[in-house]
Amino acid sequence: MLHVSLEVTSTSKNNMTTRLPTFRFTKFQIFVHIVALLPLVILIIDALRGNLTYNPIQAATLRTGKTAMILLVASLACTPVNTVFGFTPAIKVRRALGLYAFLYALVHFSIYVGVDYGFDLQLILLELSEKRYVLVGFAAFLILLPLAITSTKGWQRRMKKNWKKLHRWIYAAGILVMFHFIWVQKSDIRQPLIWAGILAVLLILRIPRVRSRAVTFRTSRRAGGKKSAPPKPVEVNEPVVQ
């Protein structure tokens, strides 16, 4: 495998003038892809081995939901991690994290509708109308759907300014997901509150005034207290989910 791919690369270098799609990933990107896919792999292995607790459908629902939530928070962390902390590789994985969040949300949603409720629409609609956690979870999923579809470079180009407008809805989805997570708890809501707190920080760091202050603070500390002009945040050329 390795040999073949090397050959292809050298061929393209020597003979091709048109740009081939390159699939070169940085180590950080590979790391992110592996980490994001791991929960799905583990879920499938556990499901096949009958290792998903005595209530496997519920366990699979909870696991995929939680993974989706964490990945959504991770994708929302990319921008502030870049602008405020200057960790530029984060931008390269933002779209992937957003899409993985959607993937897990889709699996989560499908398990609920198809496996748990067996596509019993009447029952599902009753749940939707009676249970606020179902309602906000479904709303968040409905937001993620068009964002995932329009996450490609092509859609970004076609939609121009509207693309950014549309993808800002991810903030609303994040907030709805936190309510979903809090309301589904039986008693102890400390864990969802911690995640909601992280999300709140990530959203607050996007407010222009807060962001510029944070950048100034960081750069002044690095300069040993000396004043220096805040560096411009790295220009984002990648299509991103938010």
Partner: protein
Amino acid sequence: MIPIKSSEITPESVYHDRRKFMKGVGLAALGGLAVAACAPAVAQPTAAPAAATTGGTIAPAAPAASGAMTDELGDPVNTFEEITNFNNFYEFTTDKEKVAGMATDFPTRPWTVEIGGLVNNPAIFSIEDILSRFDQEERIYRLRCVEGWSMVIPWLGFQLSTLLELVEPKSNAKYVRFETLLDPEVMPGQRSNWFDWPYVEGLRIDEAMNPLALIATGLYGKDLLPQNGAPLRLVTPWKYGFKSIKSIVKIDLVEEQPTSLWMAAAPREYGFYANVNPEVQHPRWSQRTERRIGETKRRETLPFNGYGDEVAYLYEGMNLAAYY
């Protein structure tokens, strides 16, 4: 009075292999040949670990028919593994699959239960007293958890009414209040102050006197394991599982309606009655349907968990949506 007959105890190995057993028996069982057919299937009862039954009166017997392994609706009992490894017992942990491991060293001997309050004969029973004084019988009951899952469990125990009759409630006793052991040393979940320990539950006295209300001391013909509420617990099968308080140390007859732990924690979600009711919705879990552990498809939840004939009279004229 009770349509659920206490059945003979079935060897655990037969219980475990019941699905295989049922498959093997196949149509023959339907033809009434179950007794004959079961003999080869029960060839190796070696798996049963030290089945020391407490009362000494119960001898393992071969199942008379496949009916011995189902509830009165014909649904098979859950496996011993399911019943003893999927437990809501917040005194240990909120993780249902971790309770069993954390409760292995829970000391159930010595154990005493204090019965008092508005009674003529207050008493303190040791668990040995209880086991020798009250005949243990098997009751196969459905357990419907408020979280939307359910099981069928072959309990071993005795009617709560016989215990109450012994202590003679006074005329002003209106409710029975139960209390779980409070000992954060052995119940690490009680170190969390998220709940107002100890666990408290209550029944109206007529509910407590209903023949279905059971004090369970065992299941599958063996002593209760700590994760199931050893050494003795309440079982009220027409109510959501949380009413069936575990590891009881105190029973009081009282005049005022007791406030249970869950009523105190979330009064809008958990009421005093907590009767299984598909008409009364919960903010999180479907009460119209439930998932039987071991099954994929949801089942419709039955009013009073299917025990309406036995208990509905208790609530005549009551608005069960208001008294949930």
